[in-house]
Symmetry: C2
């Protein structure tokens, strides 16, 4: 933990702020190896650029917090007293004029408690720099990610073996969910997407209980297991019963775009260049008007994290980064196709952690 703490101290120094604050979430779990759910109870670790760390901890979490081996001073608070006095007690010992926080994780009530305890404090959103410490995955982290992905692939395989014309989207989602947990998932990495026919044209669709899958429908499954703190995120689009030539042509364009993403990815290439190559394939197809999303996003302890694979992001890919390669084409009111793999950047190319077949597949026959 000491080694990791020093990384966060370095972020504070780089940003020229007095400290970094970490709240329960993926950075917290990386740092301390434990998960806390803070709900309405603030729990915050303050890591100064220089000097000892300190923490605000709900009294009922003290024992669990003890177990993480935190070495700084702990300011606890009880429900009946509220938390503000704990922030003020800490503020009196740790004067701060600037603080970096995780903008996509910390919620406003904690921000307000901090702002009230340190009047005039400059609070900087350092999501990019703080969560950026997770961007290069170690071998053991890649292995945990691969486990989550393999669980998801087994669930995909089981689910499509059961799909038949006439099932509702929610029935299929139930099959998928059961298969995911039967294969060892700890949780859904995110709300799964099970979308057939016109619903597949919405990138973040919700399963309908009143739509029955018809022969010829596209069926898009986008989901992932969360396992030991790591998130899978995979998508395949199948056709049920049969597929017509026009749909197969759309599928082929997405398939080629996905393959292109694998081809161009390697350390040294930028996120912009990958997205440009992938989206370029779709733009060169007859279906350019159906493009609605970027190529993908990083993946790890969070299901959406850096690097973001999109034009305009000139971040250079490095070996050990993992991201989703998920081109799609979406024709509103008709159907959509997305093919999503989770890929690991290597020095000379990339390795797809997703192994599930992605050639055009007709199921339910």
């Amino acid at each position: 933990m000491c080694k990791l703490l020093s990384q966060y101290r370095a972020v504070a120094r780089d940003l020229k702020v007095d400290a970094v604050a970490i709240v329960p979430g993926p950075n917290f779990t990386r740092l301390f190896g434990a998960e806390f759910h803070s709900h309405e109870r603030p729990l915050v670790v303050f890591i100064p650029a220089e000097g000892d760390a300190a923490a605000i901890v709900p009294n009922l979490e003290l024992r669990s917090f003890d177990l993480i081996g935190f070495e700084g001073e702990v300011f606890d608070w009880r429900d009946q007293d509220g938390y503000q006095h704990a922030f003020e007690a800490l503020a009196s010992q740790l004067p701060l004029s600037s603080l970096a926080v995780e903008g996509q994780i910390m919620r406003v009530f904690v921000h307000h408690a901090i702002a009230a305890a340190w009047p005039g404090l400059r609070i900087v959103d350092a999501e990019k720099q703080i969560s950026g410490l997770r961007i290069i995955k170690s071998e053991s982290e890649v292995s945990l990610l691969a486990d989550a992905i393999h669980i998801s692939e087994r669930a995909m395989d089981h689910t499509i073996s059961k799909v038949r014309v006439g099932m509702t989207e929610t029935e299929i989602q139930g099959l998928l969910t059961q298969a995911l947990f039967a294969n060892g998932a700890d949780a859904h990495a995110f709300g799964p997407i099970v979308a057939a026919g016109d619903n597949s044209a919405m990138p973040h669709a919700h399963a309908r209980s009143d739509y029955r899958v018809q022969a010829g429908d596209a069926l898009l499954l986008d989901f992932g297991a969360r396992k030991d703190g790591f998130c899978a995120d995979i998508t395949r689009t199948f056709f049920v019963g049969h597929v017509d030539d026009a749909s197969a042509e759309v599928y082929d364009a997405v398939y080629r775009a996905n393959l292109r993403g694998h081809e161009v990815t390697k350390a040294g290439v930028t996120c912009h260049e990958v997205d440009d190559a992938v989206i370029g394939v779709l733009e060169a197809s007859p279906f350019a008007d159906r493009i609605r999303t970027k190529t993908g996003h990083g993946l790890g302890r969070d299901v959406h994290e850096a690097p973001y694979i999109m034009r305009g992001n000139h971040q250079v890919l490095e070996a050990g980064m993992v991201f989703t390669n998920e081109p799609g084409l979406y024709q509103i009111g008709e159907f959509g196709v997305r093919i999503e793999d989770d890929i690991l950047v290597t020095d000379n190319g990339c390795r797809s952690l997703t192994q599930f077949p992605k050639e055009l597949t007709v199921i339910g026959t």
Copy 2:
């Protein structure tokens, strides 16, 4: 939706602020009947005290957003352009000097985007008032909650029929999770707690893969299904193989405290009075030094919401409120006992939505 929108307008007027902002989460789902996951992409609905609502929506969510029947102007943005210009375009049409937000739901990066678009804006944490609109449950909401609870009870029943001495906590958690989804859960309402022996003494424990349940252990199961947007939250503490007299005495104190909670709850009583009565039973027992938590919290679309059942909270209970009655006693290093029911306040008393037996039970024999 129009009727509901007017409730949020009324909150703005009551708080003397220009508008209320709602982000994806339980209030959003109540208002629009749909779930969105915003991850790194801001989606915000602004509801002014007077005049038309307006929204910031990621471009790739536009079609899903169309379906919710939102009638105000929509300012969309694309990943490659970022979101700040959409906030600024909205700000130029909707001048605001003060804004109420959901402090426990909105994250800091959205807060910062809003603060930058409306310089000098006073941002008020109105979590209590905004989420307070959900505090009285309708009959149909109670019915959905009851469904989530029944799923959880069936999973509890199945799980304890399988528990044996020698199983690890994580094995038992796996059984519980599978049973939850086999019975129709959409998701875990929260990370389940499966804690045996000394681990049960931590109110928010995590299952261990290296601890095998021993004869005489307490086994605490605290979990809930999420179903159709509503969250169950139930706890039972069992003993495995056998129970000694000292443990049974602790159990009895918690059991009596739980029963007392049911006895004193009715419309017109305060949260303080319920907690005082429940904790009073524990304080009068020989185990007063093992008290570490308040009686409970509200339950509905969120697993922790108002009303908070604790001393010092003089909020008056009203018919239609639902909360957890979950007294516990925790002896660090030894074991803990918690018994948690979800109860509905009625005019003349309360109705327990949780029906699972709570008399001292030995399992695994």
